[in-house]
């Protein structure tokens, strides 16, 4: 057996980031999902995103509901606290955690069943509250964990593995988010990591509720012929509306400006998203235009992806509640308790 001495080339992913952490440090426990499950690719994209954004793992709080998708927070960022809550209730828990500690980077992981059926109300209201968080729906058009029932995102005409045809109209999280006033809306595909990482970086830099719908096929229950959420169908019908590039705060935006087709948006943390190949009749800052554009294209069976809508002007939950710019959970007790003299004085009104 010939022995070839390989030169000691460090794998780029083992290069530390600015915190001195390697990609490994952003990984989690071994996944127990089915081999080939889209959700595992989303996890991989999250690992890379956090690594490249130089996020300190302990500053991240990972929350989820129940489902195969909601299991994934165990598979990334072992160094971050996680809360696998109850089916459909992650938005409320995330809202509470964000209220208590505004310094946390809140990541909510959900599924289409978790978010669009049992938790639809909570999704809508967390969005209205504009909780600063990444809200990620791993959308496979099916209930994976309960073995293959249609979910609310199943398209009309899509067939289940058993051959049943779905007749109810789907709830599309992107159109829903647009109509509810979401401030950041993107759609990605678990099969396109490069695009997904850029979208996730932008989402994490957004000050507000960043809704990211990721098509994430279920290989076991919804990857067959006749399903509109399969790898094959998604690849065939996917349309990249805008190319999204994420430029962190320190870096200069160098790309040449091509009028009409390129657009740069500066986020509150100083980073920039550069959107290129934007169609002439598309403006990701114009809610109603985006809505009708997407509706028309989706009607044709296309699956538009990219950073689809962005509104940096809207205040987040803390701004609307006018809270102090400090963590509420560990404010010193002296600043919270008015003391005995104040109680004495207060009770004058009750005599």
């Amino acid at each position: 057996m010939p022995s070839i001495k390989k030169p000691p080339v460090a794998h780029p992913s083992l290069q530390p980031n600015t915190l001195g952490l390697s990609l490994r440090d952003y990984e989690g426990a071994m996944s127990t999902l089915c081999a080939g499950c889209g959700h595992d690719s989303v996890t991989a994209a999250l690992v890379r995103t956090f690594f490249e954004l130089n996020v300190a793992p302990h500053m991240v709080a990972k929350l989820s509901g129940i489902g195969c998708s909601s299991k994934t927070p165990t598979y990334f960022l072992t160094g971050a606290h996680g809360f696998n809550s109850a089916h459909g209730r992650m938005p409320a828990l995330a809202s509470g955690a964000a209220a208590a500690n505004r310094d946390l980077t809140i990541v909510g992981i959900s599924g289409d069943g978790d978010s669009l059926s049992i938790g639809l109300g909570q999704l809508c209201h967390a969005l209205r509250r504009n909780v600063r968080m990444l809200y990620l729906i791993e959308n496979n058009g099916v209930y994976g964990l309960t073995k293959g029932q249609f979910s609310a995102s199943s398209d009309v005409g899509s067939r289940s593995k058993k051959g049943e045809k779905n007749l109810q109209r789907p709830i599309d999280p992107v159109l829903l988010g647009l109509s509810l006033g979401a401030s950041f809306i993107a759609r990605g595909f678990s099969g396109d990591k490069q695009q997904l990482v850029a979208l996730l970086k932008a989402a994490l830099s957004h000050r507000g509720f960043a809704l990211v719908d990721v098509l994430s096929p279920c290989v076991t229950f919804n990857d067959h012929e006749g399903s509109t959420k399969s790898y094959k169908h998604t690849r065939a019908h996917r349309l990249t509306v805008v190319e999204t590039d994420f430029v962190p705060p320190a870096q200069e935006v160098t790309a040449q400006q091509e009028p009409g087709t390129t657009l740069s948006v500066t986020l509150h943390d100083g980073s920039t998203v550069r959107l290129s190949r934007v169609p002439e009749d598309y403006d990701p800052r114009d809610r109603s235009k985006v809505f009708s554009w997407l509706e028309a294209h989706q009607h044709r069976g296309e699956i538009p992806t990219g950073l689809l809508f962005l509104d940096e002007a809207h205040g987040d939950m803390h701004q609307m509640a006018s809270t102090v710019e400090r963590r509420l959970h560990d404010l010193p007790f002296e600043e919270l308790c008015p003391g005995s003299a104040a109680l004495e004085a207060f009770q004058k009104d009750y005599h």
Binding site: H58, A92, Q122, L336, C337, Y350
Partner: protein, 608 residues
Amino acid sequence: MSGINNFAFKLANVNGTGSASANGLLMQAIFRMGIPVSGKNLFPSNIQGLPTWYEVRVNGEGHTARTPDFDLMVAMNAETYGRDIAEVVPGGYVLYDSTWPLDAQLKRADVTLLGVPFARLCTEHFAESRERILMKNIVYVGTLAALLDIDMATVHQMLEEKFERKPRLKDSNRKAIELGYRYAREHLDCELPFGLKAMDATADKILIDGNTATALGCLYAGATVAAWYPITPATSVMDAFKSLCQRFRRDPVTGKNRYAILQAEDELAAIGMVLGAAWAGARTFTSTAGPGVSLMGELLGLGYYAEVPAVVFDVQRTGPSTGMPTRTQQGDLLACAYASHGDTKHVLLFPCDPEECFYFAVKAFDLAERFQTPVFVLSDLDIGMNDWAVKRLKWDDSYQPDRGKVLSAAELDALKKYYRYWPENEDAVAARSLPGVSSKGAYFARGSGHNKYGGYTELPSEYQEVVDRLARKHRRAARAVPAPVIHRTPGARFGIVSLGGCDGAVREALGLLKQRGFLADYLRVRAFPFDERVEGFLSSHDVNFVVEQNRDGQLRTLLLAETSVEKRRLKSVRVYGGFPLSARDVVEGITAKLAAERQAEREAHQEE
């Protein structure tokens, strides 16, 4: 017998006409005269147009539980004249609006009618139609001041304070009171066999409702995140918390809030927010009523199993289902004790009045964080929404919140490895770690099966080890919760056990029973899990009457399930129609049971 500083009157109004402020004024005036007084607002679940009543009891000896015997009825709602007049005790009085003649059928030979043309007086003296309606109530305050000898200087002082910044309103209120007062003096015989005489029994007291006291407790305990969904009778907890925070929790430099109140989309979200905030380290609470508790079920189990501190104020109202939202009950004991599926058990506190609402609110946060579990404070509509005269609240400035065992970054660093549910301390509790502190403290909270290290498990032994510790933890909490209050009477033949807002009526009943020759010991349960003294008390009496306000005897059920006391020792006295308990309810309930027992014994003898 009624007399000076010992009588009750009732005001029958139409809701939405502004009677609440007039009735509050009356209560407060009597309170300021130093006389023990209580007010019970019996209002409909409606915004405008339905009958509403307000009962005022004056009792120099300090018995301020509800009484069903009224010496005077202020009948301001023609629609309910019939039943209102029927409720007056023989020899009592009815004050009515004589603008219109009273139906002859309604008159009672044993009741004196006092007519004042309230509507006419208002039409003659006030121009605007809304004002005419509102001021009618204030006019009867003036008349009652004349009839009952309410100190007018006190009334005027109160108007000064109340309308300090609204001189126009102050003037019309003054005018209305004078109108009613003068009319009574000029046209009525004001010598009633009962009335008021200034005392000095309220100097160290305040007049406050339980929901405001609860909110004060939350403020003083240092709660920073509150989540809720509006529901009667809990809404005013959050209303009060908000106004307290606006006053005491603004950063003096930036003007920004040192609190966050999240109005959730429903109670599922409210408790979810509380769990999320608590997990992230905040002192946090929600306030709700029965329907909300039902909705919170699943997440309360999550809080229990994942060991997340949460404080839930359940201001109980009449169930089941929507029930009677504006009527009181103690119907949520079992629903809260075992809220959620699977083996769950919670810690419950039972305040008996607004004073305890304040102290128990603070205690609830300490217990929740020390034991890392949801803690319920169960008050009820009567305690929460009615004004009670209670001891002035005191605050010990040396108080420091018990945040439980929470590891700092340095403490985590010193550990070889951190495990969420191991090792346990003497409370059967393991140290928490919060997000945002150190990677070393990171763990995965979950409602799914887990072992003591916090890892997922489906192994029977690992699963049981954790849930067995939770049971142990619940038992340990019995030593930390407020102890039962025990009154012993030498020669007592039986025991009375009760809880919460029943207390005043039961204490009054003890005296009445004694007058009839029935001596009883009394234990007031103040929390669940039960202290060993509860079991000791129950087994030291052959008969214990468990007095409570629900149909099924929920406290009795809980006592039977959670102590080893025999069923035969616990008899049940239950009052659950929705009105606050009266001493008469208790006395009649107990004496009827005792009589039935004697009868049964006699029959048994005869058969022998």
